[in-house]
């Protein structure tokens, strides 16, 4: 019997802790927020930025402005996936992606094997 009460107490503590945390929610209603712009430059075999973190909301458009001196491919590892073909001589070419589902979406260059940015998509 004592075991059962121990387990109940622990479960209650965990649940309480869980509830305590769940009260702080992100600001909502940013559905039709302005697009987020991400400038990507590929030059001399290097990409900038790398491992950037970009906060966006579901439904908020992300515009990548790509400048490049080489051919490459940018992969957006989200749902759905997207692939952007990068060509040499691009100057601020715009690619658009609208995240549909909360989570983290990595944008990676296929050629240079680097993560450009991670979109942190909140509901």
């Amino acid at each position: 019997m004592r075991l059962r009460s121990v387990i109940t107490a622990v479960a209650a503590a965990v649940l309480l802790a869980g509830c305590g945390g769940s009260t702080d929610r992100g600001d909502e209603g940013s559905e039709a927020a302005e697009p987020v712009v991400l400038d990507v430059t590929i030059a001399d075999g290097e990409v900038t930025p790398t491992n950037d973190r970009v906060e966006v909301s579901v439904g908020q458009e992300v515009v990548a402005r790509v400048t490049s001196d080489a051919a490459d491919e940018l992969h957006v590892h989200g749902e759905p996936e997207a692939t952007w073909a990068v060509e040499p001589g691009m100057e601020g070419e715009e690619f658009r992606y609208t995240p549909q589902i909360p989570g983290q979406i990595a944008i990676e260059t296929h050629g240079l094997h680097a993560t450009v940015a991670t979109l942190v998509v909140t509901p």
């Binding site: 004592r2 075991l3 121990v6 387990i7 107490a9 622990v10 503590a13 965990v14 309480l16 802790a17 869980g18 305590g20 945390g21 769940s22 702080d24 992100g26 790398t50 491992n51 973190r53 992969h75 590892h77 989200g78 749902e79 996936e81 692939t83 549909q100 589902i101 909360p102 989570g103 983290q104 979406i105 990595a106 990676e108 260059t109 296929h110 094997h113 680097a114 993560t115 991670t118 942190v120 998509v121 909140t122 509901p123």
Partner: protein, 413 residues
């Protein structure tokens, strides 16, 4: 369509979960564990889970399940080696989701049905009968223990986390092709014992099945899983199995963190890092288990083996925390692709990050609490009376450290 990204984690590319947004819950969870340890130390002083659940002889192999398992396996191998782009993607997805992760909930709900489902055991039975050697040609060497299975699991996590292109059809073809050959040859040579000790998935399923609250020895029998957990068959290499499973999960979480992604790691560097994680997890457990007074040398050496089953709930908790959305959502995609359908998976879970986050914390903390209960019960049985409490202290410190670390990783990644 699965795109193999250069840094794709878990073998499959695609979206990953948000970091857990509530540090409060994490800290609360870690405290809950600490308090459990303190309370449990005084709550019961006589082993409660030592008596095994007896359900008689295990049932014979259910052949219809072997037929089901064989059909699924033939379909997946066919898709992988002969299929279209979509079918191949489905086979790769199946390998990383249903085979690797789905095995755990299956064993929890249905016990070790893997033994019935396994097409490799089926092939061995047929070939063994045809060759007149149902028990194989050689005796499985007892010193080998679970080591081949541990090596197989390590090979899997290496492919998933360290290899240059885990999501590619070629990688998975090599892995699954080698696995099929090794498993069939091993089975024919050594008989059914091979599957009990050397087949990584079979062993993984058998170990997790001991935590099933519903099934004992492949027979429906609801019970307290802490009573069947200590019956995990102990043999050489069992600690290595658990260390690979836990160490790789920790490595994976670290690997996904931003700090880690910032350093450019080669395949070799990743491999070394993975091995270090596995060794540290294993060594820390062995040291903590041995740290007690009042035992002889021989008894001390037996202690890690006596306690290793207590890590199984932790493994299961991390698997669920780590792969929940992955299994449910990428798993749907794998099935859609394997059946060559044109459908969209449901993202019901991912659309509820709060629920996912809460479940993750509950799984990690729940796994650790079960581990603490199991370890306390076993300590009462094995530790000398005078050292029952102090002998558990090192293990308590280790488990609290694991929890904090595990939750910290979930929080930050």
């Amino acid at each position: 369509m699965l795109l193999a990204g250069p840094l794709a984690t878990h073998g499959l590319g695609g979206q990953t979960d948000l970091p857990i947004p509530f540090p409060v819950a994490v800290i609360g969870g870690a405290w809950a564990l600490t308090i459990t340890f303190a309370v449990v130390a005084f709550a019961w002083r006589r082993p409660r889970f030592a008596e095994p659940v007896d359900v008689g002889r295990p049932p014979a192999i259910r052949s219809w399940l072997t037929v089901v398992g064989t059909l699924v396996t033939v379909w997946v191998y066919g898709a992988l080696f002969l299929g279209s782009d979509q079918l191949r993607a489905g086979a790769v997805g199946f390998f990383y989701t249903w085979l690797w992760v789905g095995l755990v909930p299956l064993a929890l709900v249905a016990g070790h049905v893997w033994r019935d489902l396994s097409p490799w055991r089926g092939v061995q039975r047929l070939l063994g009968r045809a060759l007149g050697r149902p028990q194989g040609y050689l005796r499985y060497p007892s010193w080998l223990g679970y080591w081949p299975a541990a090596a197989g699991l390590l090979a899997f996590v290496w492919l998933e986390l360290c290899s240059p292109d885990p999501g590619s059809t070629t990688s998975v073809r090599w892995w699954l092709g080698t696995y099929a050959v090794v498993t069939v040859v091993g089975g024919v040579l050594f008989g059914p014992r091979w599957f009990n000790r050397a087949d990584p998935f079979d062993v993984y399923s058998a170990v997790v099945a001991r935590l099933s609250p519903l099934v004992v020895d492949r027979r429906w029998h609801p019970h307290n899983p802490l009573r069947t957990l200590p019956t995990v068959p102990l043999d050489h290499g069992l600690i290595a199995i658990v260390a690979v499973l836990l160490g790789s999960t920790a490595f994976d979480s670290f690997g996904a963190s931003q700090e880690w992604q910032l350093r450019e790691m080669s395949t070799l560097g990743d491999t070394v890092a993975l091995l270090v994680f596995v060794l540290v997890v294993g060594a820390a457990f062995v040291a903590a288990a041995m740290a007690t007074g009042g035992v002889t040398r021989a008894q001390r050496r037996a202690l890690p083996g006596d306690l290793v089953h207590t890590l199984v709930p932790i493994v299961v908790g991390y698997v669920f925390a780590h792969y929940l959305t992955y299994l449910v959502e990428k798993g749907q995609r794998a099935v859609i692709d394997l059946l060559a359908l044109d459908a969209t998976p449901s993202f019901w879970l991912s659309e509820r990050p709060m629920l996912v986050g809460t479940l993750k914390v509950v799984f990690v903390v729940g796994g650790h609490i079960l581990a603490v209960l199991a370890a306390h019960d076993r300590a009462l049985l094995t530790l000398p009376r005078a050292h029952r409490l102090t002998g558990q202290l090192a293990m308590m410190v280790l488990m609290v450290a694991y929890t904090f670390m595990g939750l910290y990783l979930l929080l930050s990644v």
